[in-house]
Symmetry: C2
Subunit: 336 residues, 2 copies
């Protein structure tokens, strides 16, 4: 089993190295790719150094079985053919192919089997905010069909990449030192602020990030659910959080929802407000599950329920979800 990581130096790429090691992923050979910026750099994996190769249009992917790509949508599009043409499965973290009809969009807890039907050899990993939400929604959908979703997100700096996270830390340092604040990775200063924009605006007034939540949720869950999202950048480093309201066909009680969430794969129910226990990004960072708490009735909707969730968007929202897809393919013997 030969595995490639494209974008190894990035926030998601680095997490791939950790997740593959942590889970003892059954690989025999690992190759790393990047641009000129990181080519030649060495990263440790299972006690051995691996050098980053320059990504080029050549036959480097000839013997690769699984390629995890996280170098942005442009690179994914440009190199998809190089990566897949010898038979490698490309599990792509970018938004390049997510809504393509002939590319499955997979969250194993929801629709693992969709990964088996991939005419182009590409499987798309959904948007991080969407992955986190659907992992929590699936057990509730199993109780009663979800008709609408309202969701407000609290997304961390690292969602915009490794350099963006460093910029937030630098901003607080600059403020402490009484220096002017550097703003380059975000549209505005993020330190001591909240930015109600993630990705670019669409004609309907929603951002791309918000429309991903609408479209990708429907595709992953095979559902006609309607989702209105507000995606907001806040001053946490790692792990996103979300406030979610759902309307189901029949009313679900809080107890019923909690019971379903407590046993759902990929979910940890963390709902003990009397002891000030609820999910928070500072604690969910670096962990695998989606943490759900503050489950309660929607006071504005008799068929409604609301809850809060938090999870590491670089783990389950990106690297971990992609690795879980690969593990599923290996388990069912469907890699090549």
């Amino acid at each position: 089993m030969k595995v490639a990581i494209v974008g190894a130096s990035g926030a998601v790429g680095q997490e791939f190295l950790r997740v593959l090691a942590d889970r003892n992923f059954p690989l025999d050979e690992l190759v790393l790719f990047g641009s000129e910026r990181s080519a030649g750099r060495r990263y440790m994996f299972r006690g051995m150094e691996h050098e980053v190769k320059l990504l080029c249009h050549n036959d480097d992917f000839k013997d690769v079985d699984i390629a995890f790509t996280s170098a942005g949508a442009g690179i994914s599009k440009e190199f998809a053919d190089d990566i897949t043409r010898h038979g490698a499965v490309m599990i792509d973290n970018s938004s390049a192919f997510r809504m393509d009809e002939d590319v499955p969009l997979v969250v194993p807890e929801c629709n693992a089997a969709d990964a088996l039907n991939r005419p182009r050899g590409i499987i798309a990993n959904p948007n991080c905010t969407t992955i986190m939400m659907v992992v929590a929604l699936q057990p509730l959908e199993n109780l009663s069909h979800i008709r609408r979703i309202h969701i407000a997100s609290y997304q961390s700096a690292s969602g915009a990449g490794a350099a963006a996270m460093a910029e937030l830390q630098q901003q607080y340092k600059e403020i402490n030192d009484g220096k002017p604040v550097t703003v380059s990775k975000f549209p505005h200063q993020l330190a001591y602020n909240v930015i109600p924009q993630i990705d670019v605006f669409q004609p309907n007034g929603y951002t791309k990030e918000e429309m991903k939540m609408f479209n990708e949720t429907r595709k992953i869950m095979h559902s006609d659910v309607k989702c209105s999202a507000m995606c907001v950048r806040v001053s946490s480093l790692r792990a996103h959080s979300e406030s979610v309201w759902i309307e189901t066909e029949r009313p679900i009680s809080v107890e019923e929802a909690q019971k379903a969430l407590a046993v759902a794969p990929g979910v940890t129910l963390q709902d003990d407000p009397d002891n000030l226990v609820y999910p928070m990004p500072l604690e969910t960072a670096g962990t695998d599950d989606i943490y759900v708490g503050r489950v309660r009735k929607d006071l504005a909707d008799d068929c409604g329920l609301t809850f809060w969730l938090s999870g590491d968007q670089i783990r389950k929202g990106a690297a971990l979800n992609a690795v879980q897809i690969a593990e599923y393919l290996i388990k069912v013997g469907n890699v090549k």
Copy 2:
């Protein structure tokens, strides 16, 4: 006109001093009150020093016309009789009396005239998050009755008082200096975090802060509207933000809503996403209006609309709103 400020040293109290000066409030004499902690301290107002007096059960409020109180609900309850028994109007910023039937709960943009009917001499200033929301809702309610509200808040550290705001700054300093982080004013570390709890929990799983949004909105707007709120503390210093979804009786178009908001008292429409213009706490801090942007259709509700707002919760959410109530009473000749 003799005016008193109870809790003058606090976040809201200090803002009273600024707002009264900025607006050239027609007062002849100003008296400040506090506990032992601040008694004797001097604050400048219109170029003159004013010494904080110790708040006691005595006749200090004998000649006071208007008392602005912001020293917490316990103090308001304990001293309401001392303050009002000689005829002073008590405009109270705490939650002590807000839901009492014989105490009007007033946001001048919504229900100014309610302030005229105050059998106990007390007028309550609503919860800050609620004030900010209803200022933006009123012009939309005037177009079509609002039936439901879903709201997720992004509340700044100063909402918990002056010391809490200082604690957040200290936390970032400690992190920069590699020291252990002090946590005392918030239930958890707030720096680089998001805390999904403001105030204490109620049996229905909502916090008091969230239930205030349900109950106070109905009282202020004389409405049967149902509101499901999620109140969250984020890492901004001053000014709260809110993501709001409303369902109206008839559908309101985005253009219609924007037009109504653009001319609404107390509202500044700041809705130009193509130029990355939308309300943010870093910019709305220290200003008077509620800034509304990102107005768009609710994709999950044909009669729904959604928008984002931000405003200074110590100004319009507290001191400014109270002063505006007083200005209204003066204007209609209804102080004593």
